[in-house]
């Protein structure tokens, strides 16, 4: 930590300060230093960049850039800020993509949404936003959404025209004597979900893959600024329906930090418990999806069978099975009726009764091993380089798990260990999800036992302790929070104004964005059959990909 601090202090900084346990927050005075800092950080060992996030301070005429550098190995992180002029002409900064490959799409996103231009970026095209936003920057505070939406038909026509233009031209440059072609893998494809991969292939062999994302872009980051702090949770949980609890936990933590509120131990344990239930329900889908993509639907069906029991518990607690809105700033939304734990016990019993056959038939499946053992291999070094997190990073042997690195909720009091695999192949990622699932069940059992014990001893009151008051108006401030989501690291950067009733800016950094970036890298030279396999093994959800 100190080394990073010393290193950053050698540059011209407005301030350098400690932030949380494993973060250092610093602000550069000049944007010209950025590249030198980035280079020095990379040499020091902060090899990953989590995200690049501009904040538009329209009143001051400033576009503040936030860079989140991470050292996945030694758990030293740096939050680096630098101011740019907000004016579209002058909103320019050096790209760090040549140094940090993982910044590529994040810089493209900043370019598309805020109009920040990055010099020397190898591929600065629009991403996520649809073609009717061409040359418009929707997340700038002075962007008029109503004005834009007035001409709905015109916008649609623009999208159609540009698609037709692309379809008309995309094969013009190809060699007519070869069997090269451009395939659209998605967005209406049995295995793709709402994403389109432009697959340039020669017969069955893939030459390159260019993902086209944004089909479920809901502009969540903009949406939350239109709602109050509690209303925002329904936008945040829609990051992805499969694991909604943990994203709400992350958001609630950021709000609590700005408000200066401590939650009760009961609420912390409930967040842990609910979060793991959501993780289990997500992992069940992920495991099933992996085999679905190889044309075998049995595992998904079996998993659905068990998953229903876990959703039953969520339903008895919150009234909803999928979008629960069960966590809000200040604690958890509802008190707990201890009888609800019977529902959870049923789910755990069902899990224990059925997991053995899943392991026997699918985890040890020889045909799966034949196909997935040596494709999509990501080494440990590549995981650092491309800023991978969660399941994907751990499958490559990287010891990263935010539940342990930077404990939140009640994870600090739990008995937890890093689970990793060795080679980082598609098979390892599948097995990693399975091991993680088992670990989550273990955490659920631990937290359930703890809550039951504490309630019995009278230390917790499950009907009253669930909430502490959070003021409706928040002071000016900013905070970041990180949670280990089902798919990896979710980083939220929340900015508020004085007497704020709504978030001024909320950056949602979601893991699928980085993982989708890997598709081209992993699929080059493979065959068409490997697309669904590798796609499934990266555990991508389009919800958090597009936001």
């Amino acid at each position: 930590m100190n080394k990073v601090k010393e290193l950053i202090s050698t540059f011209d900084c407005e301030y350098v300060q400690d932030y949380k346990k494993i973060w250092i927050k610093a602000k550069l005075n000049s944007k010209d230093d950025l590249l030198h800092v980035a280079k020095a950080l990379k040499e020091e060992g902060l090899k990953s960049i989590s995200t690049v996030s501009p904040t538009d301070f329209i009143a001051d005429g400033i576009m503040e850039m936030n860079y989140f550098f991470e050292d996945l190995k030694n758990k030293r992180n740096l939050w680096l800020k630098v101011d740019l002029e907000r004016d579209e002409e002058k909103c320019v900064i050096e790209s760090i993509t040549p140094l940090f490959a993982s910044a590529s799409w994040h810089e493209r996103e900043a370019y598309s949404m805020f109009g920040v231009r990055f010099l020397n970026h190898p591929d600065l095209r629009d991403i996520i936003k649809s073609e009717d936003f061409k040359d418009k920057y929707p997340f700038r505070k002075d962007f008029d959404w109503l004005e834009h939406e007035k001409d709905t038909l015109g916008n649609m026509q623009q999208i159609v025209n540009s698609f037709k233009k692309e379809q008309g031209e995309n094969e013009v440059d190809l060699d007519t004597d070869s069997s090269e072609t451009i395939l659209n893998w998605g967005p209406t494809h049995p295995a793709s979900g709402p994403i389109r991969l432009r697959v340039h292939c020669d017969g069955e062999e893939i030459i390159s893959v260019d993902p086209d994302i944004g089909y479920v872009w809901r502009a969540l980051e903009h949406l939350v600024t239109q709602k109050d702090f509690i209303g925002s949770i329904v936008a945040v949980e829609r990051l992805c329906f499969m694991d909604n609890i943990n994203s709400m936990v992350g958001y609630a933590m950021a709000v609590e930090e700005i408000a200066g509120v401590e939650i009760t131990p009961f609420a912390a344990w409930m967040r842990t418990l609910l979060g793991e239930v959501a993780r289990v329900s997500s992992h069940f889908m992920g495991l099933g999806m992996f085999f679905n993509n190889m044309g075998l639907h049995t595992l998904a069906m079996w998993n659905m069978d068990t998953r229903e029991f876990f959703l039953d518990f969520l339903e008895s607690y919150s009234g909803a099975r999928i979008a629960t809105a069960a966590v809000e700033p200040g604690g958890v939304r509802y008190g707990l009726d201890m009888a609800m734990f019977d529902e959870l016990q049923k789910a755990l019993d069902k899990f224990d009764a059925t997991i053995g056959e899943v392991e026997a038939v699918f985890v040890n499946n020889p045909t799966m091993k034949l196909r997935a053992d040596d494709v999509g291999v990501l080494s440990e070094e590549e995981a650092y380089k491309f800023g991978l997190s969660g399941i994907v990073a751990r499958a490559s042997g990287v010891k990263t798990d935010i539940r342990i690195d930077e404990p939140y909720a009640a994870y600090g009091e739990l008995d937890l260990e890093y689970i990793t695999q060795k080679t980082g192949s598609a098979k390892d990622r599948f097995i990693m999800i399975f091991q993680d699932l088992k670990q989550s069940i273990d955490i659920i059992k631990q937290s359930k036992a703890h809550i039951e014990k504490s309630v019995e001893a009278g230390e917790m009151n499950p009907t009253k302790d669930h909430m502490v008051k959070v003021p409706k108006k928040l002071p000016k401030g900013e905070a970041i929070s990180r949670v280990e989501w089902a798919r990896g690291e979710v980083l939220m950067h929340l900015v508020t104004e004085e007497k704020a009733k709504t978030p001024y800016r909320l950056k949602l950094r979601a893991p699928s964005f980085n993982h989708t970036m890997m598709l081209d890298y992993l699929l080059k030279g493979q065959t068409l059959s490997d697309i669904p396999l590798i796609f499934g093994s990266l555990y991508i959800c389009q919800g958090d990909l597009d936001r």
Partner: protein, 318 residues
């Protein structure tokens, strides 16, 4: 004359194939549902037994869309040809004692050739669809059928060598428990090659929906799609019946000989095929080619040698 009409339209002709398709489709759905821990169709009729009938009649009444830029005649005639060629083999099958439409000396040859033509017709459906996915599916089915048919042919030759005849009726008459044991390796190879020919998991590569949408089926809808489905189930019947006739003694039963045993043997193969479908992911084209040419074909040749040896030891008289 009435005989010919009966055999072409009732048994073992059109009506029989339709009933078989509806019945087997329903059975597949229910059996698969049980393996998936689902219920399967359950609303229409007892155990959802009308569901397939409704589905198929719905397909018949839907619009058949012919995509732009294809030859409409080629596009629409291929499904029809596929059905006809898939139904033809049943004329050569001895369904029960003395019940065979064409009792030919070359029955086995007809069976193998007619089954072998089918993938080529499906390739043409993909070729004629003017769609990248269909075309890829067509190429894949051609690749697969060329590799799998070699071992399929070699495996189906083993009973012919053993009994020195290509007449299916004679093969059935001469089969016994002992000959069944001798032919077990051949049967296993036939069964695996059958999975490849019928595009069943783990060899469902040509219509791998996660990779190439629906392969050669992609552009087909309505009546044409119904025809292709019918062709697929008729093909199931031909290949299952071929296996039952060549290796399992067709209609020969435990206490009495009857069509009932023939049907049971076909269902047995169907059940094994379905169970594999529920437990095995798809392999890739490369794996399939490797498997076929490196293992299946050599093993099929070894099997021929084994059958020749067995013949010289125990079957010289026949």
């Amino acid at each position: 004359m009435s005989n010919i009409i009966f055999s072409s339209f009732v048994f073992p002709g059109l009506l029989y194939v339709l009933v078989w398709t509806v019945g087997l489709f329903w059975f597949f759905r229910k059996f698969m549902a049980a393996l998936h821990k689902r219920v399967g169709p359950s609303f229409n009729g007892k155990g959802g037994s009308y569901q397939t009938l409704f589905d198929l009649s719905k397909l018949l009444t839907k619009e058949s869309i012919t995509p732009e830029g294809v030859n409409p005649y080629l596009f629409s005639i291929m499904p029809l040809l596929a059905v006809i060629f898939a139904m033809l083999p049943s004329a050569f099958i001895p369904w029960s004692d003395g019940v065979v439409v064409v009792d030919s000396t070359y029955g086995l040859l007809a069976l193998v050739v007619l089954i072998g033509i089918e993938p080529f017709l499906l390739f043409l459906t993909g070729f004629g669809s003017n769609n990248k996915y269909s075309f890829l599916g067509g190429i894949r089915i051609l690749t697969q059928s060329i590799s799998m048919e070699t071992s399929f042919l070699l495996a189906s030759l083993s009973p012919a060598i053993l009994f020195s005849t290509m007449n299916l009726t004679t093969i059935v008459e001469q089969s016994s428990w002992f000959s069944f044991l001798v032919l077990i390796p051949g049967f296993v190879i036939y069964f695996i090659a059958l999975l490849g020919l019928l595009e069943q998991p783990p060899f469902n590569i040509p219509d791998a929906e996660q990779e190439i949408v629906y392969g050669f089926y992609t552009e087909y809808s309505g009546t044409n799609y119904f025809m292709l489905q019918l062709a697929m189930f008729a093909e199931f019947m031909a290949v299952f019946a071929g296996a039952a006739t060549l290796f399992l003694g067709a209609y020969k039963g435990v206490f009495f000989d009857s069509y009932f045993f023939f049907f049971m043997k076909m269902m047995l193969i169907a059940i094994v095929m379905m169970t594999m479908r529920a437990a095995t992911p798809r392999i890739t084209l490369n794996h399939m080619l490797n498997f076929s040419w490196k293992y299946m074909v050599p093993l099929a040749l070894v099997n021929i040698a084994w059958v020749l040896l067995a013949k010289s030891l125990w079957f010289m008289g026949v």
